[in-house]
């Protein structure tokens, strides 16, 4: 903080010429972060994204229709205690919770290792874990599909199928990640990878099949006095549908909608944000949809940046025929509105979250490609690239070690906007009924605002719409702040 005296001081031209009064150069990204942090809008945006991220991780523990703790009275007078909630958490839930409980302190508590480095480790391990889960779900989907061939289904029935396939997936992924130098020394790296694989493998193996959940079973048990149940803060699951409780306005309790419930213990359960057209709690869906929103934004943009930067780097570095051909590809994708392509792709491909991430990533890469291309065209003729080439460095090293860090800034700044638009795409596709199936989504909720009963249901329009809006706004504000912080020309114009 500068004191009042210092504020009024003037720096003479002499001082300026000698570099007095000019801040010492900070690390580029640290400086950018500092500037972003100081803008109130961007700060609020970070807080909002933090809230969404929090719900993305912890929503199964906050909004769940299953009792978190259940004490059953057995016939012989003994009691058995269990946690249906815990038993029904999916592998993704488990790993995210684990990641949340370990990762958040890991990032926030100051340590000797740099924060960026720690974040990098967390992200790498997260990708490893996610990859195992996705592959496992693909395997389980392939073998468990009713259309699968007979031998596949026979294999699936055997007792060793789950442990073997889980271990194979874990070993393949883990071995691959051992080669990624996210930690310099090999021993800690191996330990981290092995631990992550083990934990993910356990989570995946123990939750191989999606169980059928009967929410009302526990409620009835509790109502009959057979058991005592403790519930989470919001005692509804996003896909828990009660057709007798459709379109309940916000704030109403069950007994206010259904008279016969007034005597029963679950009658005073409240729908804080109402219910939708088939009687699912809106608040619970809103919370669970955070995960879709956050992950679609980050992962699809990650894919788009990966494709775009690679192709853009090749175009910019080689120029000539490579540029000509690859740029045709960019043009092809620019010839048609992105949303249109997404609609077509989403309509004909399987409706699940992973496919949606991939198609958004595969369609929205042209921006990153063009930015990278332009930067690499500029960098190509610069001396440090020429000298790197002159000493005979391999192409991979020239492109990704020497040029990329210098040319990736505009892409990274733009990626904040790209995340915002990916979230918009997801919301739009879900609104059009082309979103992932069996997954709570803000866009899907929004679409039921006008469609369900022929009337306009305001709480189905306001809450999810506001959530989409605020999230998109947050990423846009963050992007603006980053752009202003990084682009010196715009920085000048901002004053």
């Amino acid at each position: 903080m500068t004191s009042k005296d210092e504020q009024q001081k003037t720096i003479s031209g002499i001082d300026v010429m000698r570099g007095v009064g000019i801040d010492r150069a900070k690390d580029f990204w640290a400086d950018a972060w500092d500037r972003v942090y100081r803008r109130p809008g961007a700060f609020c945006a970070l807080v909002w994204i933090g809230i969404i991220g929090f719900f993305a991780i912890f929503s199964p523990l906050i909004a769940n229709g299953l009792p978190i703790w259940l004490v059953q009275q057995n016939a012989d007078g003994t009691t058995t205690a269990s946690s249906p909630l815990w038993q029904n958490l999916t592998a993704t839930d488990l790993m995210l919770l684990l990641g949340g409980f370990i990762g958040i302190p890991w990032i926030l508590i100051p340590m000797k290792i740099g924060r960026g480095h720690r974040l990098g480790m967390l992200i790498t391990l997260g990708i490893l874990s996610g990859l195992i889960i996705v592959l496992a779900s693909a395997v389980s989907g392939y073998f468990g599909d009713s259309g699968a061939s007979r031998w596949a289904r026979e294999i699936e029935q055997t007792a060793w199928f789950v442990p073997v396939s889980t271990s194979v997936i874990c070993i393949i992924c883990g071995a691959g990640f051992l080669f990624i130098p996210f930690v310099d020394r090999i021993l800690p790296r191996t330990v981290l990878v092995v631990v992550t694989c083990l934990l993910t493998g356990l989570a995946v193996g123990s939750r191989w099949n999606e169980p059928l959940i009967n929410y009302e079973k526990y409620q009835e048990m509790a109502a009959d006095g057979d058991a005592r149940a403790w519930y989470t803060l919001v005692p509804w699951s996003p896909n828990e549908s009660r057709t007798d409780l459709y379109v309940v306005p916000p704030g109403l309790t069950v007994k206010e909608k259904l008279d016969e419930m007034s005597e029963k213990p679950f009658g005073d359960r409240q729908f804080i944000m109402g219910t939708d057209g088939i009687g699912r709690d809106v608040l619970s869906q809103m919370m669970h949809a955070c995960r879709l929103s956050i992950s679609i934004g980050l992962i699809s943009t990650g894919i788009a940046v990966l494709i775009g930067v690679t192709l853009g780097a090749l175009m910019g570095y080689f120029g000539g025929i490579v540029d000509l051909l690859l740029y045709r590809l960019v043009e092809i994708f620019m010839a048609i509105p992105v949303l249109f392509l997404l609609i077509v792709a989403a309509a004909v491909l399987p409706r699940n979250t992973y496919v949606m991430m991939i198609i958004i990533g595969c369609v929205a890469w042209t921006g990153a490609a063009r930015f990278t291309r332009a930067e690499f065209l500029k960098l190509r003729s610069q001396d440090f690239v020429q000298s790197a080439r002159a000493v005979g460095l391999p192409l991979r090293s020239i492109l990704f070690k020497h040029m990329l860090p210098n040319g990736v800034t505009p892409v990274l700044v733009d990626s904040s906007f790209a995340i915002a638009s990916a979230i918009l795409f997801e919301a739009t596709l879900s609104f059009l009924g082309l979103g992932p199936e069996g997954q709570a989504s803000w866009g899907k909720l929004l679409s039921s605002a006008t469609g369900v009963t022929g009337t306009f249901v305001w709480w189905l329009a306001i809450f999810p719409g506001l959530a989409i809006f605020l999230t998109v706004l947050a990423y846009n504000l963050l992007g603006e702040a980053f752009r202003d912080a990084i682009d010196p020309k715009l920085r000048k114009a901002a004053h």
Partner: protein, 375 residues
Amino acid sequence: MTGQTTMSNTNDPTSSSSPIMEVQDLAVSFDNASAGPGGPRIQAVAGVNMSIYPRQTLAVVGESGCGKSVTAMSSMQLIPRPPGRFDRGRIMFEGRDLLSLTEQQMLKVRGGDIAMIFQEPMTSLNPVYTIGDQILEAILLHQDVSNEEAVRIAVKAMDDVGIPDPMERLRSYPHQFSGGMRQRVMIAMALACQPKLLLADEPTTALDVTIQAQILELLRELQRTRDMAIMLITHNLGVVAENADVVCVMYAGRVVEYAPVFDLFDRPMHPYTRGLFRSIPRLNDSKHRLITVDEIVEDPAEYQQLPGHAEGVVPWWPDPPDGVKPELVDGDEYILHQIDDNRWVGCFRSTHLDSMEASPPSLDFRRPDLSSVGQ
């Protein structure tokens, strides 16, 4: 030639005429954008004094960032305010203080009485308008003439600056001109309204050497025929030696030396000026290594060479070597001291100098080659 008669009247270098523009104790500061609001301000120039006489070329010399351009821009009120601010001082032009004129009054001065040409001919012309549009705009703003008459004036101006086929080129766009040609266009535009003073802000820096010489020759020629004063801002000492009448050397927002061109080149007095001259490479020099300005300004002996050093006349320098600084009075440590009839040197404001009456620099001097041409 219209200039001929007036020229013969002012041939005599000693004839006393009044300066056309006087900069008096100018101080300009800027908000430091990178420090954010409320941060320290940057003092671009402080206590700058200079004066220009008709038909005179005053060269303002110094390294970049020393306040040359700020001085020139201030006299046009072209300093963006904010972040800029005039802290004190006056710029007198024909009896009026330019700094106190309203925007409305300044419009008449800009382009009319005082014209300016800039360093970057490539970007200083508006790319979407034709050359003709841009010259005519200037003429129509300042002269009450019909369109046809304005075209005639524009063609004449372009002819004067040596653009071939001016009638045709009026319809061309800036990008169809080379850099040198564009600078000629800029000059034609500046001179179309017969200004009394031309501020040339590094007019040749961006051009290659042969074009530089042509443009400077052109400026001198036009000055001769139009009786116009030129403030030539440059950091090229060769340009100064060949074109200037009076030289004003600036450093860090201050005038460090002010003298007629020949005197200055013969006998530079301020260590910085000496450093500048000594650091010019020469072909016949047997020395292997060039002397840098720093070596000279860090040498205490250089400070002692100034006449009157014993009484406390010490050249001003922001960061002098030990033992050089004399006893100073409170307030500004700088003063522009008249050392000789026609020499001013920026000095430390010692008790001795503070007691003397300060006289602002004013030199009605022109190089004889200019005067002799008129005869």
